[in-house]
């Protein structure tokens, strides 16, 4: 008996070791029936609390993907709204003049959402590259806008990418008008500051105020009417001049641009063909 006790004491550590290993092993085997071991698994409140905390940190790094998704979804919803508006406007009884029952042109467009993958703001001629191309239905001459306002016009497209000429490039002029008074003129960029552009051809009799909003005129097929372009930051006129020199603060911050929408004007071809035909007739 004494020997046995001595033996037990001498090897107590080994017994403890075996005991703990047996417990662990039993747990492993028992764990096959998964539900039985909810205790001490990650559904345990302390553990899950901690995972929640850790997740909130990790989530921050996943925001980019979430943004992409949201932007796609946004575009889809906008398209849906336009479709519904189109349907609604065909159903609505028009004013007495029954000739005007065709869908207003500014509603015949769709959005293609795209992501900016390369852009510059500090050169004299800036360009923006988008991650979508002809595969996604983008053609040259389409308008590009962001949620803030007008970005630019698609210049060249290949299968997967598109290059946009933004307002920040003297190669394009965008025709815009005052929301208040409907006077319109071309907007061009002086090449100095990515925040400002100049509006030309506004005659001196037009009443202006600082902060007046500029929107797209809708005279070209590129942009529908009413997309914000910017606000008047400053305007000057010399005694001898017939036109104002207007400094416009652009609505879009080109430095932080990341998601844009390309405007697909559905009647583009028809309008172009008609305009071309009438021009040829004149000649």
């Amino acid at each position: 008996m004494k020997n046995l006790i001595n033996f037990l004491i001498q090897y107590s550590v080994v017994f403890l070791f075996l005991f703990l290993e047996v417990i662990s092993f039993t747990m492993i085997v028992k764990n096959q029936e998964y539900q039985k071991s909810i205790f001490l698994s990650s559904s345990n409140s302390a553990v899950s609390g901690m995972y929640e905390w850790s997740n909130s940190v990790v989530e921050f790094f996943k925001l980019r993907a979430a943004n992409d998704n949201l932007s796609e979804e946004n575009t889809a919803l906008k398209n849906q709204i336009i479709n519904l508006e189109n349907k609604l406007s065909t159903l609505e009884p028009r004013t007495k003049d029954s000739i005007h029952f065709r869908i207003p042109p500014e509603m015949e467009y769709q959005f293609i959402s795209a992501k900016v993958i390369n852009s510059s703001t500090n050169k004299l001629q800036n360009y923006i590259t988008l991650n979508k191309g002809t595969r996604d239905g983008i053609r040259p001459d389409m308008g590009v806008i962001s949620d803030e306002g007008v970005v630019g016009i698609v210049k060249t497209v290949n299968d997967k990418f598109a290059v946009v000429i933004p307002i920040l490039n003297p190669k394009i002029e965008i025709n815009c008008k005052f929301k208040r008074s409907n006077y319109s003129g071309p907007l061009d960029w002086s090449g100095e500051d990515y925040r400002y552009a100049n509006l030309k051809d506004i005659a001196r009799h037009v009443e202006l105020a600082l902060g007046d909003t500029l929107i797209t005129s809708g005279y070209t097929s590129t942009f529908p009417e009413g997309i914000p372009v910017g606000n008047i930051e400053d305007f000057k006129i010399k005694e001898s001049d017939a036109y104002y020199n207007i400094k416009v603060k652009l609505a879009v911050n080109f430095r932080t641009l990341s998601h844009v929408k390309v405007i697909n004007y559905l009647n583009y071809k028809e309008q172009k063909d008609l305009e071309k035909a009438s021009e040829e007739q004149n000649n």
């Binding site: 107590s12 550590v13 403890l16 070791f17 703990l20 290993e21 417990i23 662990s24 092993f25 039993t26 747990m27 492993i28 028992k30 764990n31 071991s37 001490l40 698994s41 990650s42 345990n44 553990v47 901690m50 995972y51 850790s54």
Partner: protein, 165 residues
């Protein structure tokens, strides 16, 4: 800092590091380092053996709770705690009455590296064998054990070399 407090901190830090960072790493599909075992490796040499076993069991269970692997880490950690004293005796000549914390300083570089490599290999081998529960994918299993042990050893030695004392 008192030795007990130091070990409590080490326990918490290693568990957090393991659970929040390393468990999310699946490098190349093989490498899955388990650095938490450093806690057992760094217990003072004269820690009562039964106490080391209990601590290892608790540590293993904590990791298990976070990674939904009931018992596996507990088993491997207890195994390491059991073999620890023998390994220390094998590689070093610590005098009776001394109670150093294992490190490059107290063991000497070569002895400490051997100690770390052997025990980490035992730990990872036990763990991955339990996980696989068979020798079916033997070479894959071996690759996982060796590669993960290697990375863990690097991490452990790295952490230890940051310790000045």
């Amino acid at each position: 800092m008192p030795i007990v407090l130091q070990n409590i901190f080490r326990f918490i830090l290693l568990v957090l590091f393991q659970v929040l960072v390393l468990n999310n790493i699946q490098f190349l599909g093989y490498i899955n380092p388990y650095v938490y075992i450093l806690f057992i490796l760094a217990l003072p040499v004269q820690t009562p053996r039964w106490f080391a076993l209990v601590l290892a069991f608790a540590l293993g269970l904590t990791i298990d709770a976070f990674s939904n692997t009931m018992g596996m880490h507990a088993f491997a950690a207890v195994m390491v705690a059991f073999l620890r004293n023998g390994t220390i005796k094998l590689f070093t000549a610590i005098e009776e009455g001394n109670n150093p914390t294992p490190s490059f300083h107290t063991f000497g570089v070569s002895a400490y590296v051997k100690y770390v490599v052997l025990l980490i290999f035992v730990h990872h081998a036990t763990l991955f064998l339990l996980e696989a529960f068979s020798f079916y994918h033997f070479w894959l299993l071996l690759a996982k054990i060796v590669l993960s042990s290697f990375v863990t050893v690097l991490l452990v030695l790295g952490i230890q070399s940051l310790n000045k004392k």
